[in-house]
């Protein structure tokens, strides 16, 4: 093989490596900050801008609040992300938690949907200034406490930058399999690497 031919192969290999590096990070179920807002930002999702990660509950039922609180304390706090509960929505608020008997919010048929996380405003660094996290009481009312916690873990995971996985360890599986209410070691590595 001549020297010029080897150089040509090297250039091709380098170029392919550059292309590979350009593949979005969410291919590994993590996005970080990506400037996304709107109804579809659950995939790919846009990570919140703040640490501590600030929660606000907007008149939610005790069942949903208990589920999210369980996740905040037992799934999020053990990572490198600190959390706080706010008594009002302010510039620090990252997640506003809602629940309702949803019908068509964001144009989805909620007879097939349990929860939805959307980013509604951007911070200057293109990460999400404020997420709205919604839980459908049509489903949540009939779930056990453990099942509610699995869904809460999933939705709060989106606010941390995690996307869906098909692997069944951890709570980011979609469709919901209600098997785990914490983040997998894979998910935690993503969170801790980013936050």
């Amino acid at each position: 093989m001549t020297r010029t031919y080897r150089r040509a192969i090297l250039i091709v290999a380098t170029s392919l490596a550059v292309v590979a590096l350009a593949i979005p990070a969410w291919a590994t179920n993590f996005t970080g900050g990506n400037g996304q807002t709107g109804c579809s930002n659950g995939s790919p999702v846009n990570a919140a801008d703040g640490n501590p990660h600030a929660f606000y509950y907007l008149d939610v039922t005790s069942n949903v609040r208990s589920a999210v609180e369980w996740v905040r304390v037992n799934a999020v706090e053990p990572t490198d992300v600190n959390t706080v509960v706010e008594t009002s929505v302010n510039y620090r608020t990252d997640n506003v938690i809602y629940d309702a008997y949803y019908s068509t919010f964001c144009g989805f048929d909620w007879t097939q949907v349990i929860g939805l996380t959307t980013c509604v405003s951007l911070a200057s660094n293109n990460r999400c200034e404020k997420h709205e996290v919604r839980f459908d009481l049509n489903d949540m009312d009939g779930f056990t406490a453990f099942q509610r916690q699995t869904i809460a873990c999933h939705e709060i995971g989106h606010t941390l930058g995690l996307t869906h996985r098909t692997e069944t360890d951890g709570c980011m599986t979609n469709p919901a399999n209600f098997a785990s209410r914490v983040y997998s070691s894979h998910d935690k590595a993503h969170i801790n690497g980013f936050w």
Binding site: T2, T4, Y5, R7, A8, I11, V12, S15, V18, V19, A22, I23, P24, G38, C39, S40, N41, G42, S43, P44, L58, D59, V96, Y98, A100, Y101, Y102, S103, T104, F105, C106, G107, F108, D109, W110, T111, Q112, V113, I114, G115, L116, E132, D139, I151, H154, E155, H164, T166, N174, P175, A176, N177
Partner: protein
């Protein structure tokens, strides 16, 4: 084999050109010619955005009208129609805004309202064949599709018109299109659109890889689907 300096320059130019083109497209970004890639990206994002419960079906044949599920004392199918045909036209539906932060649904507004959080498209779908028992057997039906408020109508329209031959898995009575009961909805908020290539092979471009493999495990072609649709009703057992 040896490359001279001139040929070497050509190789470098080609490689750099391809690299820039691939990076510029975001490795799967917008196809400006057809808008198809834009449409697929938009719908894939939407179908993947919410957390859904486990579907009662795992394979495509379980979505046919002859696949029945227990619902109390009733036996129901997931779809009311499964149709093979093509998109004959696309028009603007409505935009939707939310009246309060804790709203369960939306308030109708004009399609191009910049405040719309989501909006609907109305697709005229020309049926070549209905598969199995269906509420429609031919002609043109109207199908609704919801998209994000910021989505570009022209690119979506081009994308829909360039999808080619399709099988749509349809249900009636979706609350998303409650303003017009004549509209069919595509199962999974647009996810169950199957493309049919010139060899009759099916693909599900709006869904992610592992689900596509499972759904197409037994039914890979339009012919396979038609064979399944012609079978007597059967009861699908819970997974």
């Amino acid at each position: 084999m040896s490359l001279g300096p001139r040929n070497m320059s050509v190789v470098v130019m080609i490689v750099l050109g391809l690299t820039i083109a691939l990076m510029g497209s975001g490795c799967g970004g917008i196809d400006p010619a057809a808008g198809r890639a834009y449409l697929v990206a938009q719908i894939r994002q939407r179908t993947n955005a919410p957390e859904r419960g486990q579907a009662r079906y795992s394979q495509l044949e379980q979505l046919l009208p002859n696949a029945l599920y227990r619902n109390g004392n009733e036996r129901i199918s997931v779809t009311q129609a499964v149709v093979f045909g093509h998109v004959a036209g696309v028009s603007k539906g409505f935009g939707f805004v939310v009246g309060s932060e804790d709203a369960a649904g939306g308030i109708e507004t004009r399609f191009d309202d910049p405040e719309a959080l989501w909006k609907t498209l109305h697709i005229a779908f020309r049926i070549e064949r209905a598969l199995g028992r269906a509420t429609v057997q031919g002609g043109t039906i109207r199908v609704g599709l919801a998209v994000d408020g910021a989505a570009d109508y022209r690119r979506l329209e081009r994308g829909l018109r360039n999808l080619g031959s399709l099988v749509l898995f349809l249900r009636k009575g979706s609350p998303v299109f409650g303003y017009d009961r004549s509209l069919y909805a595509i199962v999974e908020d647009g996810g169950l659109i199957a493309t049919v290539d010139s060899e009759g092979r099916l693909d599900l471009p709006m869904l992610s890889g592992t689900r596509v493999i499972a759904l197409l495990a037994n039914v890979r072609t339009l012919h396979d689907l038609e064979v399944q649709a012609a079978k007597p009703d059967f009861l699908v057992r819970a997974a």
